[in-house]
Amino acid sequence: MSWIVIQQSVPVFAQAFWLTLKLSFYGIIGAIILGLIASFLRYFKVPVLRQISAVYTEVSRNTPLLIQLFFIYYAFPEIGIKMSATAAGISGLIFLGGSYMAEAIFGGLKGVAKIQVESGLAIGLSRWQLARYVVFPQGLTLSVPAIAANVIFLIKETSIFTVIAIPELTNTALDQIGLYYHTDESLFVLVIAYAIILIPLSLILTWLERRARRGAFGN
């Protein structure tokens, strides 16, 4: 393995690094919003929309991101929805992540103790007030660990973006290998780059989980 080669490839990897972060960021924010909406529909048993969200969840969870991306990037233009590779990538990540986030959030809502719901009802809260002041604050806290796991999962999924030629980290590494045959060096930098993102992030998320729990439940 050549140190010089590694050094020379740093700038191009740095660009890919920021792009991976950016795509992950938008994808994850979008997924959390979509997940919130879907779990909301399910919690309040909103007719019709709830069924739509159930179908979405099934499709999203039971198809690979690869196929979802192909659909968004290659099939959608056929029906007049054209977008850049980047936009397609973010959309794919949101489509995939939304259902995972919905499961995580709904799981948290279901985990709120029955006695909490009952004591909310006992002081005359409406269903909406119960959700707003009791179930959602406690349930979202409970769902933080599952949300955190999904955040890591979704960042790793961005490596699939390479199939629609988005120059994120994995794509860049494969590119470097294809162009210069610097296989060892490129894979090495790739692993380091993912580690730089994922290891601190997972530490931050663990800390956040503990803080959220302490804030809401005191343990």
């Binding site: 004591s119 009802l121 006992a122 002081i123 005359g124 002041y133 005191g218």
Partner: protein
Amino acid sequence: MATPLLQVEHLEKSYGDVHILHDINLTVATGSVTVLLGPSGSGKSTLIRCLNGLEDFQSGQLTFSGEPVTPSPKVWQKLRQKIGMVFQSYDLFPNLTVLDNILLGPLKVQHRAKAEAKEQAIKLLKEVGLADYQDSYPRQLSGGQKQRIAIVRALALNPDFMLFDEVTASLDPEMVRGVLEVLRNLAQQKMTMLVVTHEMNFAREIADQVVFLEEGHILEVTPGKQFFENPQTERAQIFLNSMDF
């Protein structure tokens, strides 16, 4: 006779195929204390939960302040402001401070002015000896303190009727007294109450009437003093003998 605060007529309750409550008839006079006694599993909690709509029932009529109750989520939501309930487990909202726990109902449900509601909350906290804890979180309190605050939270809605389901049963013995003291004061202030308890000495002291329940049947409704000295049924006598007090 004055209109009773609560009247229960021919209430029947099942969980699926299992019949839990049989032909429950019960009258609670305004300002009186009713103690509900019976062995474990006799249906005390189920009955008390039917009275504020946490459980539905198959048939029977409830009349509250002379108004027949037609059970629906809306009706119950309104009525629950008039019927406070405190459970066995200390069920404060862990994500809210003591004061916010207490004010949630008055502010969000009853839309009262914050200053007035807060003043009342603090007055109630003083009465239960916990005025210093308004900004604490539930996790910082002992079981007995939490239970007293749960009582305050229910009282803050100015209910006409209070339901207590074994509110001292999961407390350490040294915490029990403080909570019973709060109930005793309420009784003195002529709050109408329905109390499930295993504290027999306390029951004897505060009960205007005792309702004795076994296997979902009310076996007797007897004035408090008389029940403890000379119950009408043999089953109740056996129950009393089995209780160590």
